[in-house]
């Protein structure tokens, strides 16, 4: 059986509509004068909090050496299998003691879920999820970040431990005892 709700008849004030208009406009004017809660994206960008997980990137050490040694742990741990690495041997004399570096390093940003496990697992502190959060492109290929793009996005990590340089110096100095 259908339920019939009887509508209450409007009283005098309600019939005037004025109190409602005033109440509504007061909200409008309050908002107009209050500080803004939105921003003019994309001209204006929000501040990025510490520990934010943006687009994964590769970094170099302060001397310009690529930190990644292509151990492929990030490729292994990546839940959506977004990372693809082809390892290679380092040919240049200066960093020959590091032996290994990625020949190719691709991250498919259509697959990446920004979980940060690659950063967590990296034994060389070479992969970092940095501040960039917006990626766009016209094709699927464009959305795959290759090695050059990843280093361009990543820049330099200003840490000063120089693990491999110290190893090389020890190698050159000879035996400690």
């Amino acid at each position: 059986m259908a339920i019939v709700l009887k509508r209450k008849p409007l009283n005098f004030l309600e019939k005037l509509y004025l109190p409602q208009i005033v109440a509504g406009l007061s909200t409008t004017f309050k908002r107009m004068l209050a500080p803004k809660e939105t921003m003019e994206y994309p001209e204006e960008r929000p501040p990025i909090p510490k520990g934010y997980r943006g687009v994964p990137t590769l970094v170099k050490d302060p001397e310009g050496r690529e930190k990644c040694v292509s151990c492929q742990l990030c490729e292994f741990v990546c839940p959506p299998k977004a990372i693809r690495i082809i390892p290679g041997e380092i040919q240049d004399e200066e960093h020959a003691n590091v032996e290994k570096a990625p020949k190719e390093f691709d991250i498919d940003m259509l697959r990446c879920i920004y979980c940060g496990m690659c950063e967590e697992v990296c034994p060389e502190e070479a992969i970092w999820l940095q501040n960039q959060y917006s990626m766009s492109g016209y094709s699927r290929e464009e959305m795959v970040n290759n090695k050059e793009k990843l280093y361009e996005l990543g820049g330099t990590l200003p840490d000063q431990h120089f693990k491999w340089k110290k190893k090389k110096e020890a190698e050159e100095a000879g035996n400690a005892h």
Binding site: V69, E89, A96, N97, E99, K100, P123, A170, N175, A176
Partner: protein, 566 residues
């Protein structure tokens, strides 16, 4: 202990209180492994002599006590024999099982020993796991996790030793990673019989090196890489190619010679990265020759045939097979089989030979030098398969001159060749041009270009089947990677040809072929599924009179008559 138990020649050893019946003299590591207790070890290897230098396998050892004065057993209060444990630990690998021996594999003292040994091994270890090829299958990595302290107290400078040394054409050495277990040295001395490795200097200066003027270049050098418990020895071929945790391994057989070494083929996403030996104590122990490890390069070799051909044109497999059937329906068919085909394919080929009333069935023999270890003189993996399926009844010759003569006389008009280069096997191009050639190939040979129909087949890594080795041991191999899109499985192709020729159905899968093979004849009672991984020894006595080429090799003695015939 009952009388019946005593008669079987076994003795009782107690591993952590659990009684194990074992042969006297069995290594304690093996005894413990038989009941699922792992005694961690680096230098011990079941197929090498015991050197006992890594000290990782320290255990507590005890025997039932006896009163020194009277010789009476000392008993506990409850009447059980009192076990007198030695005050210090002993190495498990250097201890052989003795009656009523008691072993503790996880007492506090043992755990402390392992932790101490691990700490010392790690003191000078470079910890370059991120760039080390052994990572993922490294015993030091595993035992540091399971038996290590988890932190380092070592603040001094680590030892510096030569890195990136080339020991030979296929082996790289990183001395800093070496834990001086001497497995590689013992392997070269005892198995490869090529004594080139040794330690120089003493104490923490100890370094693995090749003797001056020598190189680790024997055909078994890569086995040192397999047995190296750490990443000190690595393969130059596999170096930095892929991390091992991505690779899936599939059981296969080395097709290089009639020894039939058991192998594991390691692949990722349809690409093979390496081949390693698989333990089979009856055939190859845990070894294989280096030459067999490179066979996977055939899969992506430059001469690989990616699709079937009829004349010059690329055609689909079904069109090529239809054309092949058409040609084979003619008179005067000769068949050139291969000793590198599987038993199943040879069985199908035999059926084709019967249907076409073949005027000749040949196999191309390949003979080289043997080395007395795991490379035999017969370079065909499966000549005995061809004998046992009845495809041939005498040993193959290297040259097809008999077939050549038959072609010249006009007796042979159509040749079906499977996986063989007829030009290399001694036929001239003119002779091949006289006949219609149906060729099943994986690679492009000189004769492939002359064939009327070419059916692109699969390499042993892309199909499954069985082969019979020099001991008449039938062994299985499995598909590791898919073949090229245009290729067709050889067994399917042969079965299709046979079914079309005979107009009766013919089994086209390995399992269904085995249903027929297992019904009667030399394979009676066997099925593909029932053949274990280590293979089944078949009765080859019917072929005892044939002068097989193989000489003595690991786990193989040629028949006396054959030796006398030489």
């Amino acid at each position: 202990m009952s009388e019946e138990k005593k008669d079987d020649g076994l003795i009782s050893v107690f591993i952590d209180g659990q009684e194990v019946r074992t042969k006297p003299g069995t290594n304690i590591i093996e005894v413990a492994a038989s009941v699922g207790k792992e005694i961690p070890h680096y230098c011990y290897h079941p197929k090498l002599s015991v050197s006992g230098n890594c000290r990782m396998c320290l255990i507590e050892l005890g025997m039932p006590g006896r009163d020194r004065a009277t010789g009476e057993p000392i008993l506990n209060e409850d009447g059980s024999p009192k076990i007198m444990f030695f005050p210090g630990p002993a190495i498990g690998c250097g201890t052989n099982a003795a009656p009523n021996m008691h072993v503790k594999t996880d007492s506090d003292m043992v755990k402390e020993c392992r932790e101490g040994v691990t700490e010392f091994l790690l003191a000078n270890h470079p910890l370059d796991c991120p760039i080390c090829d052994q990572a993922g299958e490294c015993r030091l990595q595993e035992f540091s996790t399971s038996h290590g302290a988890g932190y380092s107290r070592f603040v001094e400078q680590k030892n510096v030793k030569p890195k990136r040394t080339r020991l030979g054409p296929r082996v790289m050495l990183d001395d800093e990673r070496c834990i001086l277990c001497s497995r590689c040295i013992r392997f070269c001395q005892e198995v490869a019989d090529d004594d080139v490795l040794g330690f120089t200097d003493r104490g923490s200066y100890s370094t693995l090196t090749c003797f001056p003027g020598k190189q680790l270049e024997n055909n078994y050098s890569l086995n040192t890489v397999d047995i190296c418990p750490v990443g000190a020895l690595t393969s130059t071929d596999f170096r930095f190619k892929m991390r091992v945790w991505f690779l899936k391994h599939v059981k296969s057989i080395d097709f290089e010679t009639s020894v039939g070494c058991n192998t594991d083929v390691w692949a990722r996403e349809g690409k093979i990265y390496r081949i390693t030996p698989r333990r089979n104590d009856e055939v190859n122990d845990t070894w294989m020759p280096d030459s067999g490890r490179e066979l996977y390069k055939l899969v992506d070799g430059e001469n690989r045939l990616p699709h079937c051909k009829a004349g010059e044109a690329n055609v689909s497999a079904s069109d090529a097979l239809a054309k092949a059937v058409e040609l084979l329906k003619g008179e005067g068919v000769a068949i050139v089989g291969s000793g590198r085909c599987s038993v199943e394919e040879q069985y199908a080929l035999k059926a084709i030979a019967e249907t076409t009333k073949a005027v000749g069935v040949y196999l191309v023999g390949r003979y080289g030098d043997d080395d007395g270890i795991l490379v035999s003189r017969d370079r065909n993996a499966n000549v005995r398969g061809a004998l046992m399926t009845g495809l041939i009844n005498s040993l193959p010759e290297e040259s097809l001159s008999d077939l050549g003569a038959k072609i010249d006389s006009g007796e042979v008009k159509v040749v079906l060749s499977v996986k063989e280069d007829l030009v290399a096997a001694g036929l001239s191009k003119d002779q091949i041009a006289k006949v219609k050639l149906v060729s099943f190939d994986t690679q492009r040979y000189a004769s492939t270009d002359l064939a009327g129909v070419v059916i692109a087949g699969l390499t042993p890594f892309e199909r499954s089947g069985t082969v019979i080795n020099q001991q008449f041991r039938i062994q299985k191999f499995h598909k590791a990677v898919p073949g090229p899109a245009g290729a067709v499985d050889d067994l399917v192709a042969l079965a299709t040809v046979q079914a079309n020729l005979s107009e009766e159905s013919f089994p086209s899968t390995v399992a269904s072929v085995w249903k027929q093979l297992g019904e009667s004849g030399p394979f009676e009672g066997l099925s593909f599924k029932s053949i274990p991984d280590e293979g089944v020894l078949l009765d080859g006595s019917a072929f005892g009179a044939l002068p097989f080429a193989e000489g003595k090799s690991l786990h193989f003695e040629p028949k006396q008559e054959a030796v006398a015939a030489e």
